[in-house]
């Protein structure tokens, strides 16, 4: 019990004192996971919509791949991104291993299938009549896409929340491609994991509370947008 009290008061103290290091870690967490989610949404939402609507050869196979990708374990994403980004690897010349950019790439690989998959499922549940109606009213493909995403906005926002929730919570990929470098690539999950391994349970609990608080605030705002519409 002492430990929990120590962690909770520790978290409060960190909030109040605005410890610059913790602030930087929290901001980096938001930046990396936020950017990965945005990239994942920019690609995944149109892609998922397209997958659920248009029929062409190989569609089912791609949908199967997307659904498998939804369960992509972060350490697997981390390992494969590492293999490409290591400086002796095929993309090593970019020199982005152990940078936030590498973490964004790995997290995008994790978020993209989730956002695509949930969008695909959500748009697939719309009344197929909408599409025919819009096309008969002379909507361009872009207008059609826009209208369908708007119609399915509840599912689309849910897919984005699921994607963000997954990447902000993952530790394996960030640890592997980021290296948990102080002031450079340390995020809340890798910091928590490191503090536990160092035996600083109080500080780890404080970090975990901050992480959950951030996730709550983000998801609560997205939920508000979702419910308002």
């Amino acid at each position: 019990m002492d430990l929990i009290a120590e962690g909770v008061t520790g978290a409060f103290q960190l909030f109040i004192s605005r410890d610059p290091e913790v602030l930087r870690i929290a901001l980096l967490t938001l930046r990396v996971s936020g950017l990965a989610t945005i990239i994942g949404a920019v690609i995944g939402v149109p892609f998922g919509t397209a997958l659920s609507l248009w029929s062409y050869r190989g569609r089912r196979r791609i949908a199967g791949l997307v659904n498998t990708g939804m369960g992509l374990p972060p350490v697997v994403a981390g390992l494969w991104v590492s293999i490409f980004l290591w400086r002796t690897g095929p993309l090593g010349f970019l020199r982005i291993m152990y940078t936030p950019t590498a973490m964004v790439i790995a997290q995008t690989a994790i978020a993209l299938p989730i956002i695509t998959g949930f969008t695909m499922a959500g748009v697939g549940q719309l009344d197929p009549g909408i599409r025919l109606q819009m096309l008969s009213l002379g909507a361009s493909p872009w207008q059609l896409l826009y209208i369908l995403i708007r119609e399915a906005r509840l599912s689309v926002l849910a897919s984005i929340m699921a994607g963000f929730g997954r990447v902000v919570a993952e530790v394996g990929a960030s640890m592997m491609v980021g290296g948990n470098l102080l002031g450079q690539t340390r995020v809340l999950t890798t910091a928590t994991s490191m503090e536990v391994s160092k035996g600083n349970f109080g500080f780890a609990i404080a970090l975990s509370i901050i992480l959950v608080a951030i996730t709550y605030v983000i998801n609560a705002s997205l939920t508000r947008i979702q419910q308002r519409s």
Binding site: L51, R87, I96, Y98, V104, I105, L181, S197
Partner: protein
């Protein structure tokens, strides 16, 4: 239509990826692969800013087990290594993977356990004798089992004893860092081989105490070495050499001598740049 979407998706990915490439063009960087113990004690946090100021290198510290650190060096994924597994390091020296290997410092390993001491090892002078008693008593022993320098040291002692503990039900293989392993030993009231520094830094939270110390086989010896730039063209030979020279410089050696005294009452490391392995192992 879908093809156009995919094209647009790919373009969008490229644009957004470029936005993220802010780290390109950063100052010259040096990758140091080292053991978790040097990071966890905070020694590198003191030393690296000095190195950066002197040379302009931004050092990226990848703290992993010694086995992983050596593997990163072998692959050319690090420029310089700071490790504590002399036998494994010598293999890399002989294979030409690393060069310019220098003795930096040492501390020592100790065998800790619960005060009840079911195997009755407290105060023994010999590490071999201690493990022998633990085997006889079938007392629970927690191993790092993560190919780290500490794990290699533990295996060295088992090996010398001629006993294979893996698979015995009282022998727990944790596969994790030192502090986590100590926590497991603490919960299980088990014996454990640990480096003194990590144990001292966690002592207040543990019920474990030092039972056996001082055997020459328990020395924990750190060497710094640069990855051979002739083997991989991405390796920064100049930076690696600068780091090796820095670690054995008088300035660093005197920082090492006093590091941790204010916090733990005794130093965590003993500087050795002017000594040889023979001096240490006497």
């Amino acid at each position: 239509m879908p093809r156009r979407f995919m094209l647009i998706s790919v373009i969008a990915l490229m644009i957004l990826a470029c936005v993220g490439f802010t780290a390109i063009g950063a100052p010259k960087e040096l990758i140091l692969a080292t053991t978790t113990s040097t990071r966890d004690t905070g020694l590198l946090d003191v030393l690296l800013p000095i190195f950066q100021e002197k040379t302009g290198y931004n050092v990226k510290t990848i703290a992993v087990g010694t086995g992983a650190a050596l593997a990163l060096g072998q692959k050319g994924e690090a420029d310089v290594l700071l490790c504590h597994a002399p036998a494994a390091e010598m293999e890399l020296v002989e294979a030409g993977d690393v060069i310019n290997r220098q003795l930096v410092m040492h501390n020592d390993f100790v065998i800790v356990g619960s005060p009840e001491d079911p195997a009755g090892v407290k105060g023994l002078k010999s590490a071999l004798g201690t493990l022998e008693k633990i085997v006889d008593a079938k007392a629970t022993f927690v191993s790092r089992a993560d190919d780290s320098g500490t794990h290699k040291k533990e295996l060295q002692v088992w090996n010398k004893l001629g006993f294979e503990p893996s698979g015995k039900e009282w022998y727990l293989e944790a596969g994790t860092g030192m502090a986590n392993t100590l926590n497991i030993a603490n919960e299980k009231l088990a014996y454990c081989l640990t480096d003194r520094g990590t144990y001292l830094s966690m002592k207040d939270r543990l019920d474990l105490e030092i039972l056996v110390e001082g055997d020459a086989i328990l020395l924990n010896i750190y060497h710094v070495m640069q990855v051979n730039p002739d083997k991989h063209k991405v390796v920064d030979g100049r930076g690696g050499q600068a780091f090796v020279e820095f670690m054995v410089s008088e300035e660093v050696q005197s920082i090492v001598k006093d590091f941790g005294v204010d916090k733990y009452g005794s130093p965590l490391f003993f500087p050795d740049a002017d000594k040889s392995m023979e001096d240490l192992e006497g």
